[in-house]
């Protein structure tokens, strides 16, 4: 088994998959903490459906580089959702659900009316569940992913303290002169980038898991914002790594394997949290 693993690790596609997987897991977990706390757990799901709809449009238009369409559309929706989340007529969760369902339906309809290949349902399945796309990455995509991940991490570290104040108490931050609106906008854009990136890895249906599981697991164990953030990043990277290895060895779909590992990690963290609380008494 070790031999088999070593052989796989020498294959280029497996290396690419590991690099991209770990990077996406890192980025999504960083923002996961903020999103969960802001009560936007489902934004990942919603935006990934938007990206799915945009992908369908790109396929119909026969765009060679579909990122050019998917990224701006997803960003726009992220900005709309996060900016109007505070005092909109349609409240946050309802708005997310509405946009999500509408674009999913729209995308599926487009793909059926203008089929771009002979097997529509397989295409849909691939984009939704990301069944094998991560194992067929080209070098360009790996580079794109690497560059965007570095940008996301740098932005996050640079604005870490500001993101904290805006997440913890937006009214206070705004009142004392922090430009909360601008940081919300920045968050929205970063989130959109991560979602579009993550679609390559786990497919659009499973993105929420990448965003929320590490954050929730870390919150079971730690009680300061910094330790929760760091722990969720480490957990997410470990789970993604493990998930990809298992999926290569066992031949299971990559996306769902990673999510399964994430869920298992959440279970372990819950237990550990309980044990610790019990031990303290």
């Amino acid at each position: 088994m070790i031999e088999k693993l070593l052989w796989f690790l020498q294959q280029q596609y497996a290396q690419y998959a590991l690099i991209v997987g770990v990077l996406i897991a890192l980025c999504s977990s960083l923002l996961g903490v903020t999103l969960v706390l802001k009560r936007f757990s489902f934004i990942g799901d919603g935006l990934s459906h938007v990206a799915f709809g945009a992908m369908a449009i790109a396929a119909v238009l026969n765009l060679t580089n579909n990122m050019l369409l998917i990224l701006p559309v997803t960003m726009l929706c992220a900005v709309l959702l996060l900016r109007t989340g505070q005092n909109a007529k349609i409240k946050g969760d309802a708005a997310v659900a509405m946009i999500s369902v509408a674009s999913l339906a729209f995308g599926y309809m487009l793909m059926n009316v203008f089929p771009s290949s002979s097997n529509v349902s397989r295409d849909v399945c691939t984009t939704l569940f990301g069944s094998s796309s991560i194992l067929t990455l080209s070098q360009d995509k790996v580079w794109l992913c690497a560059v965007l991940s570095v940008v996301v991490v740098v932005l996050f570290v640079f604005f870490y303290n500001k993101i904290f104040s805006v997440t913890f108490d937006e009214a206070f931050a705004r009142a004392t002169g922090t430009k909360a609106g601008a940081y919300n906008l920045l968050l929205a854009i970063i989130i959109a980038v991560i979602i579009v990136l993550a679609m390559n890895l786990v497919g659009s249906l499973l993105i929420s898991a990448l965003v929320i599981f590490p954050a929730l697991s870390a919150m079971r164990l730690f009680r300061s914002f910094k330790s929760v953030t760091v722990c969720s990043a480490i957990l997410s990277v470990l789970c993604a790594f493990l998930g990809i290895i298992v999926s290569i060895l066992a031949g299971t779909p990559v996306g769902s394997t990673i999510v399964a590992v994430d869920a298992a990690a959440f279970g372990i963290c819950c237990l550990a949290g309980l044990v610790r609380r019990f031990a303290r008494r």
């Binding site: 706390l37 303290n161 500001k162 904290f164 206070f172 922090t178 009680r223 300061s224 914002f225």
Partner: protein, 236 residues
């Protein structure tokens, strides 16, 4: 003059709830805003903080007070109740308004936060998690954060809501100490007794608007009626 409201009218979506507010706050004042529920006390506070724009009229600052030098103790939000953050992280985040685009807190901010923590007796709690503290301790943490944002003017939105009598008294003492140290206080309160005990000035918002010193308020028509109502309410 630290802050003045001129011909201020407040409301939501153009619907006016308070009309023609005129008052000035000077350095060292302790102003209590009283009035019935829904009379526009919180709206007034949000307007002073610049979170909401007035229907008409203006809020002006003086004595070199900038808009971002107003400390604020908001009512607790739902998000904060299960937020994983240490006391130290929250107090330090009060320094955000002097950061500009600088990404990380420096020595100066840390010293400021440390002073605020000591002033409010939070030193043993700095490493604790905010959501595991008692209500009174949480309010003290938020007060320390507000102190980091400013040493000049604090706006407190019902700082004792939901606290038991003993902790309420401690909270009022603490605010009173800050006032003695030279911090100007504006406080919304349901507790008319406390307002009359500690405040130097009273602003009554509602159908009748009254602004004046504490002693004048006791003699005024608006004050007498409101006091009578409050006492009556308590007697029931």
């Amino acid at each position: 003059m630290l802050l003045a409201c001129k011909e201020l009218s407040l409301g939501y979506d153009g619907h006016e709830i308070v009309h023609g507010l005129n008052f000035e706050i000077h350095s060292g004042d302790y102003l209590c805003i009283v009035g019935e529920n829904g009379s526009g006390k919180s709206t007034l506070m949000k307007t002073i903080l610049g979170l909401q724009s007035p229907v008409s009229g203006t809020v002006v600052t003086g004595d070199g007070l900038r808009q971002n030098e107003i400390g604020y103790l908001p009512q607790q939000t739902l998000v904060q109740r299960d937020f994983p953050a240490s006391v130290w992280e929250i107090v330090l985040s009060g320094c955000q308004n002097r950061m500009g685009l600088r990404p990380f807190y420096g020595q100066k901010e840390k010293r400021l936060a440390k002073e605020a923590v000591e002033k409010l007796g939070l030193s043993p709690l700095t490493k604790r998690c905010y959501r595991e503290l008692s209500g009174g301790q949480q309010q003290r943490v938020l007060l320390a954060r507000a102190l980091c944002a400013t040493q000049k003017l604090l706006l407190l939105d019902e700082p004792v809501a939901g606290l038991d009598p003993k902790v309420t008294a401690e909270m009022y003492d603490m605010i009173s100490n800050l006032h003695r140290d030279g911090v100007t206080i504006i406080m919304i309160s349901h507790d008319i007794d406390a307002a009359l005990r500690y405040a130097t000035h009273i602003l009554h918002v509602g159908k009748t608007v009254y602004y004046g010193t504490r002693d004048d308020y006791l003699q005024s028509e608006a004050g007498k009626i409101f006091l009578l109502q409050q006492k009556g309410g308590e007697a029931k």
